[in-house]
């Protein structure tokens, strides 16, 4: 999977599963390390706001993910590729998408399902149809709905203030209350570990863009469609206090747009395809937020768009130069 360094005489065409690395100086490992670096502000924000809870949750997911990768590689008699760091990234993203207080087994089961059912069953990195971290999260979300739903985020008497408030989207869904924008931007609200601070996600996203690791079209598509649907919703239900800006900064939209939807394996290959993917995900998030029983819909939106990614790839095959 790691492309050999290109020499002048080397005209071999490498055929490999995605992520397709076009720049030869960039390897899968390098790319994953860049993602980890981009996650740094998010992780720091999570630790700052959720203290010990964040450290514990992230460590559990990390260790479980790496162990699961090792065990499943062994079972399928495949060479162990922990060095490419993809399991570490999956572990981190899963951990950051969990509530701070979720019990230890949730992180462990989520990681095992993510790596086992989400990735290795399909044939390992590059062959998976769905974002592994989101497969793991969907599994635990449905398996332990009580622990992952609105009430799962609340930890009364924890010493961490924000853990005693309902998440902004839950407040909106259940009692129609709005939350002020500044805490939502900085991250001083309750929620999944990595999603609360829109600012930290933005910072990490900028780094990804600067390193050209993630496609800008996908986050752009997500934000654009969420903005449009949010504006239409503002127009239709004025004076609710919850505006398009809340929709953009709240929930997992920022985190998902930069770190989940941009997974190169499970998103389309062409720029047009990426636009379709981004716009579709953003619209689905808003539809799920506004009309479904769940307060947040990013996970399901990304999984649904993952499912149609092969179709998008077929629609948007680039016309070869000179072709009709």
């Amino acid at each position: 999977m790691t492309p050999a360094p290109l020499t002048a005489a080397d005209t071999t065409l490498h055929v490999a599963p995605s992520p397709h690395v076009f720049n030869m100086r960039m390897t899968v490992t390098r790319m994953m390390i860049d993602v980890l670096l981009a996650l740094l502000p998010v992780v720091l924000a999570a630790i700052y706001f959720f203290k010990w809870y964040a450290v514990k949750q992230l460590l559990i997911c990390l260790i479980a993910a790496v162990c699961a990768e090792a065990v499943f590689s062994r079972l399928r008699a495949r060479p162990l590729r922990l060095g490419d760091m993809s399991a570490v990234v999956t572990g981190f993203i899963l951990g950051l998408s969990l509530p701070a207080s979720a019990p230890w087994y949730i992180g462990v089961i989520g990681s095992v399902v993510a790596l086992g059912v989400g990735k290795m069953v399909f044939g390992g990195l590059g062959m998976n149809l769905f974002n592994p971290a989101m497969v793991g999260r969907a599994f635990i979300m449905i398996a332990f709905a009580g622990k992952m739903a609105a009430s799962g985020y609340l930890v009364p008497g924890s010493g961490v203030d924000i853990l005693s408030q309902a998440t902004p989207l839950t407040l909106l869904k259940q009692s129609g209350q709005s939350t002020s924008l500044v805490p939502m931007l900085i991250g001083a609200t309750n929620g999944s570990l990595g999603e609360t601070s829109a600012l930290a996600c933005l910072l990490g996203g900028m780094y990804l863009y600067w390193r050209k690791v993630a496609a800008w079209e996908i986050p752009a598509g997500i934000f654009l469609s969420a903005l449009l649907v949010g504006l239409v919703n503002d127009f239709l239900t004025p004076g609710s206090g919850w505006t398009f800006a809340h929709h953009l900064t709240g929930g997992a939209l920022c985190f998902g747009a930069f770190f989940i939807a941009t997974d190169p394996v499970t998103s389309p290959l062409t720029p047009t395809g990426k636009w379709i993917f981004g716009l579709g995900s953003g619209t689905l998030v808003m539809v799920l937020r506004l009309f479904s029983g769940y307060p947040e819909g990013l996970m399901f939106a990304v999984l649904l768009m993952n499912a149609v990614t092969p179709l998008i790839n077929r629609w948007t095959i680039p016309r070869p130069f000179g072709g009709a």
Partner: protein, 208 residues
């Protein structure tokens, strides 16, 4: 002319070598739909077993009268009759179970295991072979269903056949008793069965 298996062979084949669920991938609708708990799974297996046994015996008895182009009609007629009988009996004597299984009992009519066994075995072999075949296939089907149901019920509710097995603190994996859990469990058990038999074959190959 090909030599048909003896009754004993038929019986043994049904359990694993030609297991209807894990080997032939037949009858998956009840396999996925009613394996949320051991009790409904075993009731379903018993119902399918009864229908299969009766249909196989009747088909075998009339096998010399069957006309090739009308045989499917005769099979379906026979199967539908016994399914209706089972359905009525459940409604009369196991009312709650009949309600829980809902449409899946009438759906046994279109369960391909039964029509497959009528076609493959009962319409060609004598009554003892057909009966042994029905028993073997039903046992194989029952074991497959019980396996899936045991995993799903245990993880999903911490119970087996309604009796608490795991400690009270067990966090129920709700997904396991929902449809996704059926697909996941079935896929993983299928992989396990294939893995074990592949291992065994390799071992035997190495020995000879």
């Amino acid at each position: 002319m090909q030599v048909l298996p003896t009754p004993t062979e038929r019986f043994i084949q049904g359990i694993l070598p030609e297991n209807p669920v894990y080997r032939q991938l037949l009858g998956l609708c009840p396999t996925l739909a009613v394996t949320g708990g051991l009790k409904p799974a075993l009731t379903m297996a018993a119902a399918v077993g009864f229908v299969l046994l009766c249909a196989n015996i009747i088909t075998s008895l009339i096998r010399n009268l069957l006309k090739p182009h009308l045989r499917i009609v005769v099979f379906t007629l026979t199967i539908a009759t016994f399914v209706t009988i089972v359905d009525r009996f459940l409604a009369a004597y196991l009312y709650q179970m009949s309600k829980a299984l809902g449409p899946y009992i009438p759906l046994i009519i279109v369960n391909c295991i039964i029509i497959c066994r009528c076609e493959v075995c009962a319409s060609r072999q004598s009554v003892p072979a057909a009966a042994a075949d029905a028993l073997g296939q039903s046992l194989g089907f029952g074991l497959a269903l019980a396996g899936i149901a045991a995993v799903r019920e245990l993880l999903g509710t911490g119970m087996l056949a309604g009796y608490p097995v795991l400690p009270e603190s067990w966090p129920d994996w709700v997904i396991m008793v929902l449809p996704p859990g059926a697909f996941l469990t079935f896929g993983l058990l299928l992989a396990l069965v294939n893995w074990i038999s592949a291992d065994k074959q390799q071992g035997e190959g190495g020995g000879s």
